[in-house]
Amino acid sequence: MRSLEYVTLPLEGLNGRFGGYWFALVRILFGGAALALLTFVCVRLSLNLATALCLYLTIIILLSLWGSFAASTVVSLLAVASLDYYFSPPIFSFEVNNPFDGIALVLFLTTSTVITVLVSRARSRTDQLVLEANLRAEEALRQAQAELAHANRVMLVGEMTASIAHEINQPLTGVVANAGTALRYLAAQTPNLEEARAYLGLIARDGKRAAEVIGRIRALVKKTPPRRDLLDANEAIREVIALTQNELQKSSVKLQTRLSGGLPLVPADRIQLQQVVLNLMVNAIEAMHEVRDGARELTVSSGSASHDVFVEVRDSGPGVAPANLDRLFDSFFTTKREGTGMGLSISRSIIEAHGGRLWAMPNEPHGVVFRFTLPTGADEGTDDGADHAG
């Protein structure tokens, strides 16, 4: 998902103060030239003051619309001088014989000033409205992206339900059994407090473990704004792998993990990183549903290279034609019957927002490798989609 095209104003695209001066200068020169030309024509045609005045006013108006307050002002002054010199008797002199002529000149200057000011205000008002509209659009886009990412996380959690239930069931089994054991020790002829205490300790440990799983699930479905913590990618990956155990078992997929030790910490949002890995793993498992004969193998590996940490998810599924590898990341592209087609596209947005890259390559002998990189703190990533080499 890219930023909206800004509604562009008919500006010459020049920025900065130097650009501003150039902007005004061009218009002044143009205006001056137009004025000179008009003056020549009017003098030749021997037009009177009133006519000339109206024509000059037209130029001022056009100049204002063209967008420079300074130019309009300068040209207005030149116009008044010119009117005085060439059209108000005595001509070719700055004197004014007829007081009504004088009044006309003053009114001309007033009118042109008023017009210039009005047009200028209207322009800046329009500029402001456009800017506000752009800001609102950007904000709306950010919102929509966040909502979509959240929806994706909720969907992932939904798919993980059986795994989650299982993760909680294990410590719960411990709790129930240990409670029975502790009670048995207490119900003995001589209650064995030591043993009962020991098993209560185990209950506390197991209860805490279940609570952690709940906490992790909650974090996934919460709508929190993204954080930037320094995190250990391997740890985040391991937590997520635990959640996929059921899916792996059900689909008879063999999981291999090759997480390099000593990975540098990366600034990243833990939940979003886990979301990406989950998306990739779920995709891989589903891709391998087709594999009848031959192994269904899923490999998750991690490592570091130059300034990045990379993570790879490899499957041994049927694979994808090299030409279509990048299409996988298009929004709404899916081969799944009930797929939304959003998982990979969202994953890519997330990685790019972290300053990294996510792409797909063919796996040997068949299947797909998804690889993404995350810049370490040493190489500050930008926040909105700037690509990094490698």
Binding site: N169, Q170, L172, T173, V176, A177, G180
Partner: protein, 207 residues
């Protein structure tokens, strides 16, 4: 005969479950040995005495039913109590048909587990008893001469002494003597007894 201490073997990859089951087993005075994987279990040497196995039906990379078959193939006849964290109904049926003692779903009541374990240990006791009986009978059978064995085979087939004598080409008197010797050596109190012994020996090749 003093009984050796029963042992409950536990295979589950989850630490909470392993610790809990170990606790339950120990709290009733039984011995528990826990393993994280089937491989670890197979590499250990089980102590003597009634044993049983509490096994998670889904260990990483290993299907519990496959393991059940593997144990049968290795001639390790240990009664199995399956436990599972999933609602594996089809697996339940299969497991029970393959001879599992019980199939419990997590979280199970500790009492249910104990009941299943007791049942499994009983089954193991019965099997061991059976086995030792057969061993004794085989020992006795080994003591019979070739001729005596031939006689025994025909006696339990319901043949009369006269017929046996004719088949073996000896006199009826010889057969009577040999028959008496068989009864004595096998310590059978009646022909019915002998027939039962023969059945056990036939259906239980050298144990």
């Amino acid at each position: 005969m003093a009984e050796k201490q029963p042992t409950v073997f536990v295979i589950d990859d989850d630490v909470s479950v392993r610790d809990a089951i170990e606790g339950v087993v120990k709290s009733v005075g039984l011995r528990a040995e826990t393993f994280r994987s089937a491989q670890d279990f197979l590499q250990s040497s089980p102590p003597d005495g009634p044993n049983c196995l509490v096994l998670d039906v889904r260990l990483p990379g290993l299907n519990g039913l496959d393991f059940q078959r593997e144990l049968a193939r290795l001639n390790i006849r240990i009664p199995i109590v399956f436990i599972t964290g999933y609602g594996d109904i089809p697996m339940t049926v299969q497991a029970m048909k393959a001879g599992a003692v019980e199939f419990l779903t997590k979280p199970f009541r500790d009492q249910d587990l104990l009941d299943a374990i007791q049942q499994a240990l009983e089954r193991d006791r019965a099997t061991r008893q059976e086995r030792s009986e057969v061993a004794v009978l085989r020992g006795r059978f080994e003591m019979l001469s070739e001729r005596e064995r031939q006689v025994m085979g025909r006696v339990v087939a319901g043949k009369l002494n006269k017929e046996i004598a004719a088949e073996l080409g000896t006199s009826e008197l010889t057969v009577k003597v040999q028959r008496s010797s068989v009864m004595h050596k096998m310590q059978a109190e009646s022909v019915i007894d002998l027939v039962r012994m023969a059945e056990k020996l036939d259906h239980r090749p050298a144990v």
